[in-house]
């Protein structure tokens, strides 16, 4: 600290970015577009899982409606960019011409809107604990979805369409990196320790002078903000936002990532977001290659419909045999800010 040395996390992110970019160049073509889609989705899941980890793993609350926040971010930022810019895909020289800044601002506004919703939801929910809180957040998530389904201005059940495609590997990596740094700095600050202490023992935390209400709401708001950013990025990647993308099941998938990775471990969330996204695609490819056979007059296929069965079994097995998740509560060195030691 204090020296001009670049932080290791930044170096790691730069290496990741440069390597992936080079490998995906048309001339090299080791990573094709399919890989890039998986990587982009993994990165968005990284934001979602890491931010849910802040709520569930760090602050010790429990949200089952995380995608509801993502929906708010997606719809708000998507509405802004479709209104402000009716523009095609990024052109060369795009970075300095303006629209990208509007996009970035829209994403941040989407995040802030999600944060506000997080505040509205977090505040009344705080009297509840454990599974009551889980159900409450699930209810709020469903209500957000129902409302979106019924607002014709944002497309109702047709979804919000015609969002410009601004999310690229570059913008997604940038936002993911910023959010990881933000979350890491938060957790390893005095405020973060206050949040952790709530998870460990809420009563003792209060009696250490921590305004636990404030920090629980803060956990919800920051988590919701990040989810809103992820939602915005996803909407600008797919060029649409649809209410069904933000229901209970997608929220459960993010929850699974957090638990599989290890509650309270950001490293775990990141690792699980990547590995589960890749695993799903890997299983898809694997199942594609199983030939079909006949039983009687029926054609029996062992096809991609079994992927989710495997996914569910995997989740149960992780919970049974490694309840604390793959990483437990540990963090990779890369994500730990080293403290200068005196003496």
């Amino acid at each position: 600290m204090g020296t001009i040395k670049l932080p290791r996390l930044l170096i790691a992110a730069l290496i990741f970015y440069v390597v992936v970019t080079i490998l995906s160049l048309d001339q090299v073509h080791i990573l094709n577009g399919y890989f890039m889609v998986i990587i982009n989705r993994s990165l968005i899941f990284v934001i979602l899982a890491a931010s849910l980890n802040l709520i569930n793993g760090i602050t010790g609350q429990f949200s089952l409606g995380h995608m509801g926040f993502a929906a708010v971010g997606a719809y708000v930022s998507g509405t802004i960019t479709t209104l402000v810019l009716k523009l095609p895909a990024p052109q060369p020289g795009f970075w300095i011409t303006g629209p990208i800044f509007i996009f970035m601002i829209a994403i941040v506004i989407g995040g802030i809107a999600a944060g506000l919703v997080g505040f509205l939801i977090g505040f009344p929910s705080l009297r509840l604990k454990g599974d009551y809180l889980a159900i409450m957040t699930l209810g709020f998530g469903e209500i957000i979805r129902t409302i979106l389904n019924n607002i014709d201005y944002v497309g109702g059940p047709r979804g919000l369409l015609g969002i410009p495609k601004f999310s690229t590997f570059t913008t997604i990596t940038l936002f993911t990196f910023l959010i990881i740094v933000l979350l890491r700095n938060l957790v390893q600050s005095s405020h973060g320790r206050a949040m952790l202490s709530i998870r460990e023992n809420e009563l003792a935390s209060e009696l250490c002078g921590i305004d636990t209400t404030r920090y629980k709401v803060m956990g919800f708001v920051i988590g919701a903000f990040c989810a809103g950013v992820a939602g915005g990025l996803l909407a600008h990647l797919l060029q649409l936002a649809h209410p069904t993308q933000y229901g209970f099941l997608p929220s459960a998938l993010v929850l699974i990532m957090v638990y599989a990775g290890g509650m309270g471990s950001m490293t775990g969330s990141i690792f699980a977001a990547f590995s589960l996204t890749f695993l799903t695609e890997g299983l898809r490819v694997a199942f594609d290659n199983i030939p079909s056979f006949r039983i009687g007059t029926m054609d029996v296929r062992i096809g991609t419909e079994w992927v989710m069965v495997i996914y569910a079994i995997l989740l149960i097995l992780i919970m049974l045999f490694r309840t604390e998740g793959i990483m437990g509560m540990r963090e990779a060195k890369l994500l730990i800010i080293e403290e200068k030691k005196k003496k």
Partner: protein
């Protein structure tokens, strides 16, 4: 708005409420004993419906549709529901009993996903909906301004009979006393010589059987079954249990009937409200009275 509270709407609500009640009872009993929101409970209901469907075709060859067949099919649905519930408990929940509570919740989500996706992927069942057969001929009566079928009567009678039986079991029998003891304090119950795991398993058995019965009733009343049919009723029944006071058996019944009538009324008023009413109720209850209508306040020990 006369049509909101017409006799017909109340009949509709009671019929829906009966099905919710049977599912809600399982939720509430399991929660009362192991403090677990068993997300897979709605799927036990779905399995019950499929079991009833299979049983119909198995027995229809020998017995003509009618009350006897309904009874046989009901028993099969309850047995299968109970078996699945006990198996889930044994393999997925029991090993996590003394781990953090929320890991059981996540496991329950996993079990739920597994059952749904497995049924959908398994070729003999598959994702397509199936028409549920008429297990007994339908008879319609006109009562005042309302149309009532014998199915409504069956729904109400089966639900009432099972609920009465359960209330008697819990209140009067030694087994019920043991269940209440376990729900109060597992460790103390163990010291008193109660087989705690046995009681938990029995609770899952009852809950699963009731969900199975609800599956048959749903098949009769809304004659379409599919692998994902349990998600929504499961969630709503759970909300009904919370509304009545989770862990409280009469509360679950009360909550379920309120829920059925509220949903019917809301649907008649406006589809947006109808879609969200369950969750609005949930949030209101949790904010205003998290212990539910009949639930008792338990002081946190500091």
């Amino acid at each position: 708005m006369a049509e909101l509270f017409s006799l017909q709407q109340i009949v509709n609500g009671l019929q829906l409420g009966s099905i919710y009640a049977l599912i809600a009872l399982g939720y509430t009993m399991v929660y009362g004993i192991v403090r677990l929101i068993n997300f897979a409970h709605g799927d036990f209901y779905m399995i019950g419906a499929y079991a009833a469907y299979a049983a119909f075709f198995l027995f229809n060859a020998y017995i003509a549709p009618g009350n006897v067949l309904v009874f046989i099919v009901l028993i099969v649905a309850m047995l299968v529901g109970a078996a699945v519930a006990m198996l889930s408990n044994k393999f997925a929940y029991k090993p996590l009993r003394y781990k953090p509570k929320l890991s059981s919740l996540v496991t329950a989500i996993g079990v739920s996903m597994f059952i749904e996706y497995f049924f959908s992927a398994f070729p003999p069942i598959g994702p397509s909906p199936r028409g549920f057969p008429e297990v007994l001929p339908k008879v319609m009566w006109t009562m005042g301004s309302a149309q009532v079928s014998n199915y409504v009567v069956i729904d109400l009678v089966v639900a009432a009979a099972l609920m009465t039986g359960l209330t008697l079991l819990v209140q009067k029998s030694p087994l019920g006393r043991a269940m209440r003891a376990v729900s109060q304090d597992k460790d103390a119950a163990k010291l008193m010589g109660i087989n705690v795991e046995g009681i938990i398993s029995f609770t899952f058995l009852i809950g699963g059987a009731f969900a199975g019965a609800a599956g048959l009733l749903a098949g009769l009343t809304y004659p379409r079954i599919m692998p994902y049919m349990g998600i929504l009723p499961g969630l709503k029944a759970f909300i009904a249990a919370v509304l009545g006071g989770i862990g409280n058996i009469p509360g679950a019944m009360l909550g379920a009937y309120i829920m059925g009538i509220a949903e019917t009324t809301a649907n008649a008023y406006n589809s947006l409200l109808g879609e969200g009413i369950a969750f609005v109720i949930l949030i209101l209850v949790l904010l205003v009275r998290p212990t539910g209508i009949l639930g008792e306040k338990t002081a946190d020990k500091i």
